[in-house]
Structures are given as C-alpha cells and as structure tokens.
Amino acid sequence: MHDDTRPDAALTPPADRTLSGGVHVDRRHDSAVKHVTGRAEYADDIAEPVGTLHAYLGLSERAHAKLRNVDLDAVRNAPGVIDVLTADDIPGVNDVSPTGRDDEPVLATDKIEFWGQPIFAVIAETRDQARRAAHLAQIDYEDLPHVLEADAAQNADMPYVTPPLTLKRGDAPVAMKNAKHRIKGQMRVGGQDHMYLEGHIAFAIPGEDEDVIVHSSTQHPTEAQHMVAHVLGVASNAVTVNVRRMGGGFGGKETQMNLFCAVAAIAAKRLNRPVKIRPDRDDDMSATGKRHDFVIDYEVGFDDDGKIEAVTGEFAARCGFSSDLSGPVTDRALFHADNAYFYPHVLLNSHPMKTNTVSNTAFRGFGGPQGVIIAERIIEEIAYHRSRDSLDIRKLNFYGEGRDITPYHQTVEDNIAPQIVADLEARSDYAERRQAVLDWNAKGGVIRKGIALTPVKFGISFTATWYNQAGALVHIYSDGSIHLNHGGTEMGQGLNTKVAQVVADAFQADFETIKITKTTTEKVPNTSATAASSGTDLNGMAALDACEQIKARLVEFAADTWNVAPEAVRFLPGSVQIGDEVISFPDLIKAAYMARIHLSAAGFYKTPKIHWDRDKGTGRPFYYYAYGAAVSEVSIDTLTGEYIVDRADVLHDVGRSLNPVIDRGQVEGAFIQGMGWLTTEELWWDEKGQLRTHAPSTYKIPLASDRPRIFNVDLADWSENRENTIKRSKAVGEPPFMLGISVLEALSMAVASVDDYRTCPRLNAPATPERVLMAVERLQGEG
C-alpha cells in the first residue's frame, strides 16, 4: 500500500487548536486594516497607465424637450479635448436597459426625458479638462410639458413604464363593504438617494481584437459586461468586468453603472487608449436613479377589536423616464404590503408610472419598504380609530395558524414575528416606557414624546427566479494556500469575509490561508447582481459546493493512499486526520498534487423550491422570510418640528449567523439608513423639473449625532433558518432597513399627542421638521 506520494511525517493536533475564522464566529471585515490605513484600493485608486484619458458627460438642462440642435464645437475646441461622442458614435446598440425593454439610451438622440439626461460625452487628457469642456455645449431645446409626480402622471395619462401587477385573494370589495369600520387614506412616501460615499466610476482598458477590460464599482459585473458588449456590438466574451470593492452600493450600482461602463468602453475602443469616467457628485445624483417615490391610496376594513377584514391598495410609483428595474421594484412593494399581517381579503395594484425624472432603480429593500410602510400605516390608522396601542393591533393581525396565506398565495411557514415582537417587547421594557411617554405628554408642554414598535417580515429571493443562481471558483495551490473567487461583489457588507469563512470551515483551513480575489467576469460567468440580500445565501452555497468537490477528491485520495475508509478521513483545524494519523493540511495538499489530484473546482448553486407565476399572481417567490422588530422613542419640538431619536432597541433575525459582528453592523447601518429615508433625506425638484437636492450640501443623510444615543441592537440568537440555507443563516442586507419605520411612527405618536391621540396624524415621508411642525399645527387646528 505504501506509495511515494504519501508523506511520512505524522503530526498530532494540539487539543486546543481552534480554527481561525470559521463559521458562526465574529470575524472582522477582511479589508478592515486596508480601510483604516487608506490602502484599500477602489476603482479610482488604480494606477493609470500612461496615456489614460478621461471622459465626462454632457447632461440635459431640461426635464422634457426635443433636441433641436446640439452644437458641440466649443466642446471639441476646448483645451485638452481629444474626442466627443454622441449617440451616432455608438458602434452597437444605443441602449442599456437592464430588462431588454430598449427604453434607455446611453446618449439621448432626439428627445430629452429628464433633467440630467446624458447627451454627449467628451474625452480629454485630464478629468478637469473634460469636465470643463462638457459645460461648453450650446444646446437648443424645444420645451415640452413635464410631469414629476406619480399621481400627476396618472392624472396626465402618462403610460406605465412596465406592466403593472395585481395581487388578489378573496373578495376585497365585498368584504370591505361588509366591514364594520372602514378607513380610506393616502400616503406619500419620498424616494431616497443612495449617497454611497464612492460615486460612480468606470475605467476601461482596450485590448487586442475586440477585447476590453473594465474596472468598475458595479454590483452587477455580468450585466455591465453584457451592456458593454451590447453597445460595442461585440460578443460578451470580448468584455471583462472587474470589481475589487465598492465604496458602498445599496442598489445604486446595480444597473446604474451600465451607463458609465458603456461610455468608458466605447471611448477606450475608439481611441485605443485607457479611458476613465467619474462624474462629480452633482452629476452622479442628477443622472442616476434612486429609490422610487410612491403615492399610495389605501383602504382598510376592520372589526371592533381592530382585526383586519379587507385591504385594498393602489401603489403609484415615480419610475422615471424608463423601466430600469421598476417592474420588480413595484412588484416587491405589493409583495410586502402585508408586512407581517394576514389580510383575509386583499386587492393590491401597482401603477409603475412614467415621469420626466431620472429612472428610478434598486435601493436596499427594492420596493419592499414602500409596501411595509403602508401595512404599518394601516395598523396605525386602526389603532387611532379604536384608541388602542398600535402594538395590540399588530399582535391581533399577525399571521398565524389558519391565517397564513399571503396576498400572492405563498404560505408563511416560518412565522416568528410574534416571538420576535414578544421578545423585544420584554427586552425593551416597552410597556413601561410607553406609559412614561403617555405620562410625559399628559403634562402638556413644548416637547412631546412618541414610542412605537414595528416589525418586519421580508421575503428572501429574487422574484425573477432565474437570478437565484450563483457560481464560485476555488483553487488550492500546491503549498496549501487557497484562492477564493465567487460571483458576488463586496460593497462593505462583508460578503467576502463570510464566504471565506464558509471555505475556511469546509477545509478547516485558517481564514488567513484564504486569498479573496476581485470579482471578475473572467472567473465566474453569468452571475446575478449582488442584491436582494442574497449575496451570502447564493455565493456561500456555490463556494461550499466547490469546496465539497475538492474535499471529495481529497478524501478519496487520502482513503486510497492510507488505505482507510473514507469516513476515517476528517478535516481538523489546520490538519487532516487519516485513520490514526494526522498530517497538516499543506502536506496533504502537497501529496495530493504529487498524485495528480485536481485541486480546483467551480461550484454552483440554485435556490430550491421557488417559483412564481406573475400573470396569475401566485406562487412561492420567496425561499424564506427574515424577521425583525424595533422600538423607537423620539422627542419632538412642537414649536419647530425638530426632533431627536432618543432610543432604539432592535431585535433582528439572521437565522444562525455566520458572523454575528458583521450581521450586527448590517442591522445598525440599515436601521440608520431607514431612519434617514423617513426623516431628513428629502428629494426636492423645482418647478422646472430639476432635482435641487443633488449633493450632500442639500441632501441630508443621518450624521453620528442623529443616531439614537441609546441603541441596543441584538440578533435573535434563538432563530435558525428552517430552510437549508448556508449554515442555516438568513440574509441580512435589506430586512433591517425597514426597522426605521418605527421612527416614523414614534414621531407620529408625538404629533398625535397634541390632540390627545384622537387623530391619526398621517405623517408623510420623509417627516422633515417642516412636515412634523405642519402636522402638529394641523392637529392643533383640529383639536
């Protein structure tokens, strides 16, 4: 049996040898040291080859117009300018519509459909020269009337940008008519800019034949690859898109980077020089899409206790000039219009309206938050109507036994909303604190308080079923070091860290022996966007599949070579036990290599069980649900509408966490971002149709001093995913975003106190100090 591939040195594993960076442990972000030292390389930090040129976009200054004449002479003649591109210069197709609807030109041709629409690109020796030149165009517009708001678009008979969706169960109109109580209302919910700290950027380097390499900060390298091929009129195999890391994405770099990748690649191929494009913050915010604003008309029927009998909702969304991802976004708003509550009879319609604004896109939650917020508004309405604590109304209406079918006919099998809420209610002393708030407000006074506990139930999976697939590539080099690559992209969420933990666990190899490499379309093809919170679920499983393939070969090799049963081969931290012998992992790898064992594998995963029939509005679009809940307590100044979030307590469900500290970071960050959406982040267009809040000077995301001073964030450590996800964990990126809704409802309660809680304040979002003051004054007027 002895053969010369077998190493002879045996090693006893120290009893206390533990694995560094396996699963279910805290592990810092793999790039943390690089982040704090400034050594982490972002797309704009890549050393530029000699001869690199810089592109800049010329943007429209009309919301809706015909292009009568575009005079670019001054642009061409400006210092340093090498070339100017218009739609005519696009070698392939002038379209970057991510869903193939052919409605999103890279560069406008004869009409302008929003303020900030790219008309041309100028390429110059330096970015400064290109940027200055871009402002020199003489453009003659023929103005056309524009429509900005979703409801105005409905009134103006603007078309849908994509087919609408209806979700329906039971007979809502009849049940509504028969309900003892009915409330009808409207809520306006503002959009949100992503305000990733790193803006859009693409850097294209031409190669031989039709080849081009694009370094970019995109969440969706595969789509960028396809779009670049599409606009160049070449096959996808000529285009490579690379992403090492993003300085934040949040959905804003899912499709919106296509434009920049396309322009950089066209220019690079045309001039045969590297070309980089990086818009300034104003252009980034003007020319790229945001979270959809919604105007939602709702009606609810309920009984004396506050139990819901029927709900109807009309969800009109500001989609902008093109479809982009508005179809799935508005669909997801309907999917989440139930949040955690059972609606016996329900009828929901989406209205994805075309407007003369930038095309709205993905943003953390992907329409879900705009659905959840209506469910919570409905609960609030009932609570004020019945003079009850809204938490009681919530509990009464949770999904439960015999009440477990969603408006899209999926059965809720994993409902833990009641447990999460009960657990949080106790941990946060909700009842006593609510009483204290009521007592405080009863004294009258300028400063009023509010407290609210809101839950979230969020469906996990892309509703486009085919996106629920992923690939990974794992190599083990003959020295035992591991190279990990997968199709997901790192934007701060710790995806690379978590996937590497999965690999470390699989081989029982220390985290430090694993090299995480940039995402590239060269290594893993046909990937999905890193979006829908799915990054770890999908890529972790794909990486595990790759590891299992290699492990199976190693086990077979070891069993054969040592002549033991395969079950006698066990991976221990840093070593492998084979029968009675223990050898180091690198030694095993070396031996396997010498024995010509294949030490590389491509892994693959597709999510099981899911299916969705959009025409019928039925199916199981979601593999499972993630849950959470938050209690927020606020104070408002009834003279100015200013407010402070005093305290927030969060309990969130991530199943069995792969990395609790990273997951907690996601929950904290999402809560604050959700709070920002509903408080100070206001998108404001002037009457000409120009967005005037297009930089951090005018668009205000939360600061450190806006976060609650008391901020208790816990993971529901008792939860485990009942589905067979990666190590029974759950997705975490999006669901906690909706916990910010508790802040809005707490503000609402503080406002309501001024007329002794007789009126539901119907605070629209974002609840800026202005909206809070105006609501206070409205209620004082009514009181």
């Binding site: 030292t37 990733y196 949040f250 100015t640």
Partner: protein, 486 residues
C-alpha cells in the same frame, strides 16, 4: 519688499517646494493625482462628506497647531509653511497601526471603507486634543464626516476606546513637534509669496499692510480666506479665481482680543478660533456655534468670510447684528466702520468697494438686563445650512422692554433686522401677550422664499414660534422648551 515665487510646506514630514501651482489647485487633487496618496478620498468635493479629511499643522505665534480640514476645497496656495498630514502618515514605518486605526479595526468601524480614512483623521485630531472625549465631543468632532454604511455606532465605540491603545504623548506629531516647528519656522521667511503659472496668479501677502497693498494692486482679485465658499466656486462651478489673494495665513487677522467692553476679532478668525472667546462672553452661542457646519469647516471658515460673502443664510450675521457688532473695513490705509446690518445692501451686494477688505469685527459685550438667544433651524440638526436663523437681544428693565435687536437669516435676501417685531416689543411689558403680538408682526418684516430647505410657510411659522421659544426660555418654567440629546 522681496517676494518669493515658490511655495514650501511639509507633506507627511517631508519638505516639498513647488514652483508652479494655480490659484485654484486643490490639496485633494495634489495628493491623489500628483503624489498618488490615494488614501484620501473624494466623496463630494464640496466640504460636506469628510472623506478627504487631512490634518494641516500651522504655526500661530510660534505654536504649532494641527487642525482637520477638507482637502477637497483647500487650495494648495494656502498651505505655504504648513505641515500636511494624510492617513498614510499614521501607521509607523514598521507598518504598525496607529491607536486610532487599531481601535477602528477592533470595533468594526468600517464596512465599505470609503469614508474610513476621513473618520480616522477626524478621530485622530480629536484624540490629540481630547484623549478621553465625551459622546457629545465625539459627535461634534464627527459632524463633518458622513458614513452611509455603519450607522456610526461602531465608530463611536472605537472613538471611546482609542486612548486605551496609546497616548497622544507618544504620537509622532507630538514627538516630532519641536523638529517640525523649527522646520516650519525656517520656511516662514516673512516674504510676500507670488505663485504664477501661464494663466494664474496667487498672492500670499506678507502681512496685513501688504494685503492692503496687494488689493490696491489687484482690485479685481478674489480674496480667499478659509475657502469654504470660494473652494466650491472652483470645485462645483468651475470658476477661475485668479488673481487670488490669500489671507488665512496672516496671524494678525487671526487675533481675537477682549478689552474695554469689546471683543475685537480679526476677519481671519475661524469659527473654531472664535469659539472660546465668544462663547465665554455669550454663553447662548455655545450650542449655536457647534451647529455651524462640521468641524473641518469650522477650522477653515472665517467669520470675516461669513460676513463678507453676504449670504442671506450665513449663521453669524444674524447673531452679530443682534449683538450690535460693527465691521471694520479697510482700503489701503483708510478704514471705515459700519454696523454689520448696514454692510448688507441686497442679495449678493455688500457695501465693499473694490480693493477694500474686512479687517475686523467688533462686538460689544452684553449690557446688564439684556436677554440673549441664538436659534438655528435646519432640516438636519448638524452640518446643515439654516432654513431660519435668528439672533435675539432684548433688554428688559423693570418689566418693560427698553430695547430689542432681532435679526433673522433665511427670511429675506440678506440677513436683516425684524423692524416691525422690534417696534412691537419696545416700550411694552415683558409678557407672553407682548411676544404674541410682536410675532404677529413678523409677516410685515419678511416674505420668505420657498426652496429645498424649507417652504415659505414653514419659515414664517417656525420663525414666529422661535419668538415664542425665546419667551418660554426666559419665563420661569420647569418644562423643557428645547430638545436635548439624552
């Protein structure tokens, strides 16, 4: 007088001499494009996100002070004789992380990491000044740093623990302090500096008299103080500022002294530089001052610039007007004095002649019996431009209002006194009824605009309510009338 035609400074401890820089060249572009020090990031190029935060050390009366600044709007020309410290300087030569960096790593203060170098620099400056900061001090130091990923909680935790990783005394900027001071002193040769390129001229006058002279030589020049406005003209509006005359390096203009019932403040005193003196004399300004911009901007921006730019939404003019401050203008050797309110003529139009500059602002100390307040309302509490700002100064004698100076920002085309409100107060009893009656007069004084910060209606309503707040704060009541962070 001799002039020098190059600029000298230290970058991360190493001397640099540059001959050709344009007036509008920014520090951020220099670091990233020329030096490939890419740890310093561009997030907005308008001073609002802090991703570009670096430290600038400068001598003031022989004393070396380091302050955080926004490299994106800091002009290269203004750095003559300074020590620029970027994130790359923090880890030791052996690659060991700095206490600030180690704390940020251990407390998981970074997610995407793009904001992180900027936070590291702000926290570094805070730790050097205040090794054991309170939560409020941390929040105040971080007003100029945005993070979109973390929600800040881990960064706060890191900030609270830095001092357990090391003490500022051992920090390089302290151990090298004497050496750096003497290097910078050697650079300060007392000459006028004129930096020229083909199409640009930047002048750093030798002293205030030379500034006066330079302005007479170039009456069309752009004056640049802290560049927290002018910087944006360049980075956002692509304006050419040459010829530019810089003044933030002039120590005489950074002097602030108090005597004979008067605070005399050089026009080049920054928000930060004025805080101690002003807030000691006028405690009601403490909260208000900390709500002007973020720390980096407070270190750069000057009171002179805030007044000189004549913005209707500048935060200092309403307060200065209420306090009865005067602005001292100088042209050549001629000086004139104006009440601050008289300096503002109309939107974008100030009483400032070509070649003239703001030299000083004089603020009389408070009279006994006067009640003071300064309020600011903005969409976001910190680092935001006011929707409405107001300075109030009301004298009450024997229950009667004998004098009132009330000036608003954000309500008209210039910072402006509320004449009708003042008239409705003076001579009346100090009572709630008087305040209500006066508040009702506010629409006679102002017809505010609607814009993205606030509607006309909200501006008016909240401004009236601020008068009510003023009453409540001064009436003996236990109930809080202002929000306080827990």
């Amino acid at each position: 007088m001799t002039t020098r035609s190059n600029t000298q400074f230290l970058l991360n401890g190493k001397p640099v001499t540059l001959d050709a820089i344009s007036a509008g060249d920014t520090l951020l572009d220099y670091l990233r494009l020329q030096k490939r020090l890419t740890g310093t990031k561009e997030g907005c190029a308008e001073g609002d996100c802090g991703a570009c935060t670096v430290l600038v050390g400068r001598l003031n009366k022989g004393q070396l002070n380091y302050e955080t600044v926004n490299a994106c709007i800091r002009f290269m020309a203004s750095l003559d004789g300074c020590h620029i410290v970027t994130v790359e300087y923090l880890s030791g030569p052996d690659g060991r992380m700095h206490p600030v960096q180690q704390a940020m790593v251990d407390f998981h203060g970074s997610q995407c990491g793009f904001c992180t170098p900027g936070f590291v620099m702000s926290l570094y400056a805070l730790w050097m000044e205040t090794p054991e900061p309170t939560e409020t001090q941390i929040e105040t130091a971080l007003q100029g740093n945005l993070c979109r990923c973390t929600g800040y909680e881990p960064i706060i935790r890191a900030a609270q623990s830095i001092n357990t990783y090391g003490s500022p005394a051992q920090d390089a900027l302290n151990t090298e302090r004497a050496a750096v001071t003497s290097q910078l002193q050697a650079m300060a040769d007392g000459q006028r500096v004129e930096l020229r390129t083909d199409d640009s001229l930047a002048i750093l006058p030798a002293d205030v008299d030379d500034l006066a002279a330079a302005l007479l030589e170039h009456p069309d020049a752009t004056m640049v103080a802290g560049a927290t406005d002018v910087g944006l003209w360049v980075t956002k509006f692509l304006k050419t500022i040459s010829p530019a005359i810089f003044l933030s390096h002039l120590e005489e203009l950074r002097e602030i002294e108090q005597s004979d019932g008067m605070i005399r403040m050089g026009a080049g005193v920054s928000y930060s530089g004025s805080a101690d003196t002003l807030c000691a004399a006028f405690p009601h300004l403490r909260d208000y001052w900390d709500r002007i911009a973020g720390w980096q901007i407070r270190n750069m921006g000057t009171i002179g610039g805030n007044v000189a730019n004549g913005s209707p939404i500048g935060d200092t003019p309403p307060v200065l007007i209420a306090l009865g401050a005067q602005v001292i203008l100088r042209k050549g050797d001629a000086r004139r004095t104006l009440p601050v309110e008289a300096f503002f003529i109309d939107y974008g139009k100030q009483d400032l002649a070509a070649g003239e500059f703001v030299e000083r602002i004089d603020i009389p100390l408070a009279q006994p019996g006067s009640l003071h307040a300064a309020y600011k309302i903005s969409k976001r509490r910190d680092e935001d431009i006011s929707s409405v700002a107001v300075g109030l100064n009301v004298t009450v004698q024997d229950g009667q209002i004998t004098n009132a100076r009330i000036a608003f920002g954000g309500m008209a085309a210039t910072p402006k006194r509320a004449a009708a409100v003042e008239a409705a107060l003076i001579g009346q009893p100090w009572s709630e009824a008087t305040i209500s009656a006066a508040a009702a007069k506010l629409p006679e004084d102002f017809q505010p605009l609607t814009d993205w910060r606030a509607s006309s209606e909200y501006r008016m309503r909240s401004a009236q309510n601020l008068l009510r707040r003023f009453w409540l704060e001064n009436a003996a009541t236990d109930a809080p009338v202002r929000l306080m962070r827990a």
